[in-house]
C-alpha cells in the first residue's frame, strides 16, 4: 500500500465528493461530504500534537548531547510538559491553565510582534525612499492613509479621513480585486495540479499576517 497512486486516488475522491456536493443536491453525497469534513477535523486535531513531538525530539537530543544552550531546551520542555499536564487534567477552562495562558503565553505572543513597531519605524527612517515612480506613489498613498487613520490627521485637515476612505474603497479595492481574481485562479490551478498528481506533498497551512 506504499503506492503513491492510491494516495492520489484518495485525495481525488475526497476532493470530488466536496466539489459535487457544492453543485448538486444528492442526499448521499451531501451526507458523505459532511462526514468526511468531520473526519478532516479529527485528523487536524491529532496533527496539532505533531509540533510538540517534534520539539521533544529536537530538544531532548540537544539536552543529552549538552549542545549549545541546552538549558534553554530544558526550560522549553519543562514548561511544555507542565502546561500540557495542567491542560489535560484541569482542561483549558480551568483557572490554573488560564493563569499560564494569560500571564505567559499571551504577553509573550503579543510582545513578539509588537517589536514590529520598532522595525517599521527604523525602516521608515532608513530605507523607505521615493526613488522610483512606484515607490513615490506608494509612499504618498501610505501617508494619506496614515493621516486618515490617526486621529491627529483629522485635527490637521478634516479632509484626510475622506481621502483615506476613497483610496481604500476605489483604487485599493480595484487592485485588490484584480489580485484576488488572479490569485483565486492560481489557487484553482494549484488544486488541479494536486488532483492530477503532478504537485505532491501539500498540506494546508496558515498563520499571522
Amino acid at each position: 500500500m506504499k503506492s503513491q497512486g492510491l494516495m492520489i486516488a484518495l485525495t481525488f475522491l475526497f476532493a470530488i465528493i466536496i466539489i459535487l456536493d457544492a453543485f448538486f443536491a444528492v442526499d448521499f453525497i451531501s451526507a458523505a461530504s459532511t462526514e468526511i469534513q468531520n473526519w478532516g477535523t479529527i485528523i487536524a486535531s491529532i496533527a496539532l500534537a505533531l509540533a510538540a513531538v517534534n520539539l521533544i525530539r529536537v530538544h531532548s537530543r540537544r539536552i543529552m548531547l549538552r549542545r549549545g544552550e541546552w538549558y534553554n531546551s530544558v526550560a522549553l520542555l519543562l514548561i511544555m510538559f507542565v502546561q500540557t499536564a495542567i491542560g489535560l487534567f484541569d482542561t483549558s477552562t480551568g483557572d490554573i491553565y488560564n493563569f499560564g495562558f494569560n500571564n505567559i503565553m499571551t504577553p509573550l505572543g503579543a510582545t513578539m510582534y509588537a517589536l514590529l513597531a520598532f522595525w517599521i519605524a527604523s525602516a521608515a527612517y532608513r530605507a523607505f525612499t521615493a526613488r522610483s515612480i512606484d515607490s513615490a506613489i506608494l509612499l504618498v498613498a501610505a501617508t494619506v492613509v496614515m493621516l486618515g487613520n490617526a486621529p491627529i490627521g483629522e485635527s490637521i485637515w478634516s479632509a484626510f479621513p475622506g481621502m483615506k476612505t476613497w483610496i481604500m474603497d476605489v483604487p485599493n479595492m480595484a487592485a485588490q480585486r484584480g489580485i484576488m481574481i488572479g490569485g483565486g485562479i492560481g489557487a484553482i490551478a494549484l488544486g488541479l495540479r494536486i488532483l492530477m498528481g503532478i504537485e505532491r506533498g501539500h498540506l494546508g497551512g496558515g498563520g499571522e499576517e
Binding site: 457544492a22 459532511t34 469534513q37 468531520n38 478532516g40 477535523t41 485528523i43 487536524a44 486535531s45 496533527a47 496539532l48 483549558s92 477552562t93 488560564n98 495562558f101 494569560n102 503565553m105 499571551t106 504577553p107 509573550l108 505572543g109 503579543a110 509588537a114 513597531a117 520598532f118 517599521i120 519605524a121 527604523s122 521608515a124 527612517y125 532608513r126 530605507a127 523607505f128 525612499t129 509612499l139 496614515m146 493621516l147 487613520n149 490617526a150 486621529p151 491627529i152 490627521g153 483629522e154 485635527s155 479621513p161 476612505t165 481604500m168 474603497d169 485599493n172 479595492m173 485588490q176 480585486r177 489580485i179 484576488m180 494546508g204 497551512g205 496558515g206 498563520g207 499571522e208 499576517e209
Partner: protein
Amino acid sequence: MKVLQNVDRRIIYLLVFLALAIPMLQPIGLPFSINESSQKVYDLVEALKPGDVLVLSFDYSPSGQAQLDPQARAVMKHAYGKEGVKIINVAFWPSGPLFADKFLGEMEGTHDKVYGEDYVSLGYVAGAETAISAFAKDMHLAYPRDRHGNSMSDIPMMKDIKSAADVDLMISFGTGTPGVPEHVRQVVTVYGTPFAVCMNSVSVAGNIPYYNAGQMKGYLNGLRGAAEYEKMMGEAGSATASMDSLSFSHLTVIIFILIGNIAYFADPDRKKK
C-alpha cells in the same frame, strides 16, 4: 546629511516608545470621527431582534490580542445587552475560546443571558477551513458537545439552530488564516449568512473587495475600529485611551519617512551607489 542617515537604530526605537508612552501619561483626547464601515457593524448588531441568532467566531491568537481584545470586548458588551438575541460563541483558532471565556468572565452579572438558553460556548475545533465548512453545514454534527462537555442535544437554544442558514448575523474576530476569505468561501457564499468582521489593520486592505461586493457587511479596522465602537457605545475604554498614542506614533513614522527621503536625495554619493 550623512549624520542623519547614520542615527543609531536604538535612538529611533526610544523615540517611538516615547511617542507611545507620553500621550498615555498626559492624554489630550484628540477627537476622531466614525468610519462608515464601523457604523455598519454597530448598526447590524443594534438591529438584531429578540429570537435572532448571532454567531461570534474568535479567530485570533495572543499576537493579535492588542487590536482584537478591545474590539471583542466592545462588540460582546453590545450584543449581550440585546434582549432575546441568541448568541453562539465558536473558535477556529486554538486560543479563541480562552479569549471568549475571559470576556464572558468580565461581563458576569452585567447581562441577563442564561447559559444554554440564550448563549452557548462551543469552543474550538481544529481543521481551519474544513472546520468552518463543517460548522456551517451542520452545527450539531460539527460540535457534538459544547465547551463545557454538555451534549449538544441537551442545549435548549440549539434545538432550532441547525446550519449557518439559521444564523442572522455572523461576526468574526480575526487576524489571519483562517479568517475572512475562509468564512466568505464556506459560509457567506453557500448560506448567504450576513457577515461582519472585526480585524487587525494589516488584513483590511486585502479584504476590501469582499466589503465592496457585499460579502462582508461591515468591518472594524484594528484599534481605531475598537475606539470607534467604544464611542458608539458611549463608553470610552482602553482603545479610546490609546488614540493619542496612535496619533503621535503615526506622526513619528511620517516624520521619519520625510527625514529619510530628504537625507537620501541630498546625499551626493547617491548616484554612484
